[in-house]
């Protein structure tokens, strides 16, 4: 299998996972698409050097996507966009159920929560993916769970 075929296969296997991770962090579709593109561009550029098994490639992609997600929210263009979003916050929230449900979870905790709950990685694996100490991951999970629990309770009370 040549590099091109390998890229095609990895793209079709993992693009949804990367999209979901990105969405869980940036909470909007446009940026999540951008992150998928940036992440897989890096894979395409480095595919020759990445002679590691697919499961490890997936972790590598998660790490790149997590960095790209943080970068995109820090970018000046995004900050300008945020001002205009804030002005129309009501409209944005009504348009996007997901944003309004999980937007209250701190940004710092979102990726750890995603990797833990959705992907089923353990704390050690998450620490390696996001390159933080295990104690930092534990803190993020703890804090994220608390915030999620409050949201979950609100939702239950509504029902």
């Amino acid at each position: 299998m040549d590099d091109n075929d390998r890229f095609e296969r990895l793209f079709s296997t993992y693009n949804k996972d990367i999209f979901r991770l990105a969405y869980s962090y940036v909470l909007n579709r446009h940026d999540a698409e951008d992150i998928v593109q940036r992440t897989f561009y890096k894979l395409y550029k480095h595919i020759k050097k990445l002679s590691i098994p697919d499961a490890e490639i997936k972790k590598w992609l998660f790490r790149v996507a997590s960095n790209e997600s943080k970068d995109i929210l820090k970018s000046p263009s995004h900050k300008n966009l945020k001002i205009s979003f804030d002005e129309t916050k009501e409209v944005v929230q009504n348009d996007d159920d997901f944003t309004s449900s999980l937007g209250d979870v701190s940004k710092n905790c979102r990726i750890a929560l995603y990797l833990y709950y959705y992907e089923g990685y353990n704390i050690k694996e998450i620490a390696k993916i996001i390159r933080k100490s295990e104690s930092a991951v534990k803190m993020r999970l703890s804090r994220g769970k608390e915030e999620l629990k409050m949201k979950w309770r609100d939702e239950n009370e509504k029902d």
Partner: protein, 268 residues
């Protein structure tokens, strides 16, 4: 806990994934961008011999080192409706190290090296706390992150530092120490921390030698349980130290005394 797990997944499953058309557009964009970049690279290489390249030093002003302001954990405690509390701690400290130290980057795709405490002190130009309880001094490199070639953060583990031999088919005590730091090159504001679930008590224990407070967390809920798992966290000289204690067949008092003795024995 399971319900929250399901709630989270259900919320995430509300996302409309990329359609086949959108996937195709992204896929084509990636290949186009790569081709254009390759072309651009060739062009730049071709004309670069005729150009005088001026390097302009870009002054990067780093934010004032937060470590000067906050030298320990910032604790947040939440009291829940059922009266239980939970705590999480964040740390903003940044360590000054030899940012150009000869340490390879380590993450999930590769294994780190092993260093003695003294070797690591020399490589990073730092001091690491030691104890007379340490019967081995081999630190395994867990994570090392670099930004633009500069060390941004790292963590190392001193496994089974009392060299307790495990008997076959039995459980035995095990004590590990994890050290970690983030530097001014780290990209996040929060550089470390820990958290507890509901009802877990955090005990503050002041270390006179080091003039710092450590936080001891216990997972032991029953006095007579044969197993006790404890974590102790402290920050000293802008380094994070985490101790994991897996104790067997001891009373809570014996376990805590041992942990406190180990913490009290720390020195440079």
């Amino acid at each position: 806990m399971k319900k929250i797990d399901e709630f989270y997944k259900t919320e995430l499953d509300k996302i409309d994934y990329l359609s086949v058309e959108e996937e195709e557009i992204i896929h084509n964009n990636i290949k186009d961008k790569y081709r254009k970049n390759q072309k651009l690279k060739k062009t730049v290489l071709g004309i670069s011999t005729f150009l005088l390249v001026c390097l302009v030093g870009i002054g990067i002003t780093y934010a004032e080192e937060i470590s000067d302001l906050i030298k320990t954990f910032k604790l947040t405690t939440t009291t829940h409706d059922n009266g239980n509390t939970s705590t999480y701690a964040e740390s903003y400290v940044r360590k000054e190290v030899n940012y150009d130290a000869d340490l390879p980057e380590v993450d999930s795709t590769n294994d780190g090296g092993e260093y003695s405490i003294q070797e690591l002190e020399e490589i990073l130009d730092i001091k690491i706390l030691k104890s007379d309880y340490f019967k081995n001094d081999t630190l395994k490199q867990e994570i090392t992150v670099k930004n633009d070639g500069k060390i941004a953060g790292a963590s190392f583990v001193l496994k089974n530092f009392m060299n307790i031999k495990k008997e076959k088919n039995s459980v035995s005590d095990r004590y590990d120490m994890i050290i970690g730091f983030s530097t001014k090159y780290a990209s996040d504001d929060v550089h470390g921390g820990w958290g507890t679930g509901q009802g877990l008590k955090v005990e503050e224990y002041y270390l006179k030698n080091l003039k710092t407070t450590s936080y001891i967390l216990s997972s032991k809920s029953e006095q007579n349980s044969p197993l006790g798992i404890y974590h102790a966290y402290l920050i000293h000289d802008n380094m994070h130290y985490t101790f994991e204690f897996f104790c067997t067949f001891k009373t809570v008092e014996e376990e805590k005394e041992l942990i406190k003795n180990i913490l009290d024995s720390l020195h440079y």
